[in-house]
Symmetry: C2
Subunit: 450 residues, 2 copies
């Protein structure tokens, strides 16, 4: 192969060294286990969708990567232009419609995959990243209690990482019906536009939002003030509803929303105390949410923005005769991992799986070392054999450079010996019975210094 | 969301229902565990590479998918056109060069990811599929013994699946030095062209190859006959070398290749009897192999072609001053899974993780059912709660349709009870201590009827 010229990272396409990948994998396995304990089914969808389906949600059209073959036009199958999916919701909706006859509803699925967004390189955003999504989707109907349960699953999944250094999380919830009922109650008809402006509160501040509501959403100064007052309400119990009602607006949609919101925060206060609270500034940009909406921050890393968002939608998909309401959340794994690594929050005990390096006395005796490694692996102990019969000091350095804790010496006259290269302790050992301490068998992820 | 029109599978982009995904996941976890027991490190690379790097190996130019942004030209970063990777070798080579200062050599990595090829839809080939690759790469040098070890790791990884119905495999090996030395010894200078023609033996037969060698590779009838004679040699011990030498050709390259080939098959006969054999028809189309080459067939499914191929290359990559020789193999996971599913070779015991469905007596008592599920999950038992407080018969059918083995009834006056819905047996149970039989706790993959 010809020398590769100009090797350099591509901005927006993050990659990890083995140590970073080990942290990512530990996070993925941990959340996956929680998802499975809750009965979520693993699925994977293709990376591409027809462009018309990618665009059916609107808003993101400029972020899509289209495919074309090098030696041809755009790839068109059955007259469809193909693009890379930019989230896991659109492909899941299509998967549900395509396979509805083979799925049992309510269908609980999780999905861990890469997504792509054709951001301009200079924007410094990720153009490829991994998401871990959970959704429950019903056929025709979906009970409200799932809106309580799904953020609790996320709280449990991310909470399971606390013992390896993960900071606590806070899940802020609101409910679209509260905003919709309230805005309509004060005569603000542009509900979606108002939500989009409120969504900018963190970025442009109350004054910017006040002006935006009047300029872009047809609000009077009084309506803008009321919308801002609503957005300022937070709480973890029924007092949230009291605070909203104290603003003097009443209607059925608002009261239904408040009832749901209070149910959610009260249940959460029992099942995950201190994690989930109402925060009525949470708007979520996307039009298709119809009930609870969620955003998640990492305590101490709030400027990172939401690491897990989602909500309730009444019609994830429709095949014309039936609709499929659902509720789901999506963890931004790459963003989370990037922060945990750069802040040295988590790190692996070693970058290789290997617990034991079997030394090689000379190349003629390599089969004896291979046999030791085979015996160890057969008992579930990750083992590697030294690549060359260098001096033992060099073989020990080979292990040390990889943080492999043990080096094994196959005895030629006497018994085998194994050396803990951290303590220097060396003892007789039999590959058919010796085991490393449990903590050394596989690499573990532990809290870093950050 | 608007109704989705014309939902249909895209040819070349395979997707599995949850049952199929469970089989795929089991296969991936099993091979991954073997790779890690052997000390291979998990890495993941971005899905895109600059086009110039994708094309640096030649041959595959017409199969590349390029990216362009919907609202822009082709995505160009630092003046590079980006394309999706079509294998995991090119991105691994780039990763090694980019990170050489942070990696310890020899570097053993595994990588399980999707790859894409811009095949024409009518060709019926996969355009997206999952590969599981292992490679060892050295800096400047790499001992021969890795060429023996890597196919043995594959034999062990796929052999670990035998107890869930996986058919046996056969790994056929050859050595580029044998072919090169032999062709040069008989005066056939077009070594690469001759290998490409020999590679078509299965497809066009000996007569086709005989003609092709004379028409395309400048062979005399006698040279073509000799090349075919070489390709017909098979064996699992030193007799392979005898058979080659009996053809009357001698030179240093040939003898070095035969020595390596015999070392490989003799070691393999001890460590994995009956799995690995020399087959000198194995040529592999790619130019960059320089030593051992491998192809793997599934016994009873030979017409599927090779499910795992690879070889030794002296220069995976070069940064101008140093080269990185390596040896690697790649399992075609999607092709393998597709066959195992369509032939009903493996199937999961159930499509959902859930071992216990906790029934709900009425919506007021849902918190009691939630508490049971929480207690079970805390002890590592996957549990779900019925989505609605329907009649118990309907809740049991909900479990039955998903093959969930147990339904739990939270006692309102008396003790809780759990019912095995297969046997109908129902017993008192405490969520703090009851456990399902080990075989029922998580779904398992078992041999199917195929």
């Amino acid at each position: 192969m010809a020398p590769m010229a100009r090797i350099a990272p591509l901005s927006g396409f993050p990659e990890w060294l083995p140590e970073g990948r080990a942290v990512e994998t530990h996070i993925l396995r941990t959340v996956q286990r929680t998802f499975e304990l809750h009965g979520f089914v693993d699925i994977e969808t293709r990376a591409v969708e027809p462009l018309e389906q990618l665009l059916s949600k609107g808003e993101t059209s400029k972020e899509v990567y289209l495919l074309r073959r090098l030696q041809g036009e755009e790839d068109r199958t059955d007259d469809k232009t193909l693009g890379l999916h930019f989230d896991l919701t659109v492909p899941f909706a299509r998967y549900v419609l395509e396979n509805a006859g083979h799925l049992a509803f309510p269908f609980k699925r999780y999905q861990i995959q890469k997504v792509w967004r054709g951001e301009r390189p200079q924007d410094g955003r990720y153009r490829e990243f991994t998401q871990a999504d959970i959704d429950v989707v019903g056929q025709g109907e979906l009970p409200f209690h799932f809106e309580v349960e799904l953020p609790l699953v996320i709280a449990e999944a991310l909470g399971s990482l606390r013992d390896v250094g993960m900071p606590p999380i806070r899940i802020a919830v609101s409910n679209r019906k509260v905003a919709q009922g309230f805005y309509q109650g004060i005569g603000l008809e542009d509900v979606e536009g108002t939500l989009r402006t409120i969504d900018k509160l963190d970025k442009i501040g109350p004054d910017g939002v006040r002006q935006g509501l009047q300029r872009d959403n047809g609000a009077t100064p009084e309506q803008a003030e009321a919308a801002l007052a609503l957005a300022s309400i937070t709480g973890s119990d029924a007092s949230v509803a009291d605070a909203v009602l104290a603003l003097g607006v009443r209607n059925e949609v608002l009261e239904e929303g408040l009832s749901e919101l209070v149910q959610l925060v009260e249940a959460a206060a029992v099942r995950a105390p201190g994690v989930i609270g109402a925060d009525l500034r949470i708007a979520r940009g996307l039009d298709y949410y119809t009930g609870s909406v969620y955003e998640t921050t990492l305590v101490g890393h709030e400027q990172l923005g939401s690491i897990c968002s989602g909500g309730r939608y009444d019609s994830l998909a429709s095949d014309g005769s039936r609709t499929y309401p659902g509720v789901g959340l999506s963890i931004g794994i790459s963003r989370l991992v990037s922060r945990l690594l750069s802040a040295d929050v988590m790190r692996p005990t070693r970058a290789v799986p290997t617990a034991v390096l079997v030394a090689v006395a000379d190349e003629e005796h390599r089969p004896a070392s291979d046999a030791v490694a085979t015996a160890l692996r057969a008992r579930g102990i990750p083992a590697d054999v030294a690549p060359s019969a260098a001096k033992f000091g060099k073989q020990i350095r080979h292990a040390d450079r990889r943080s492999i804790p043990f080096v094994w010496f196959a005895g030629q006259d006497g018994p085998d010996q194994v050396k803990d290269i951290r303590s220097g302790e060396q003892v007789d050992a039999d590959p058919a019975s010796w085991s490393p301490p449990h903590a050394d068998r596989w690499p573990r992820v532990t809290a870093g210094l950050g």
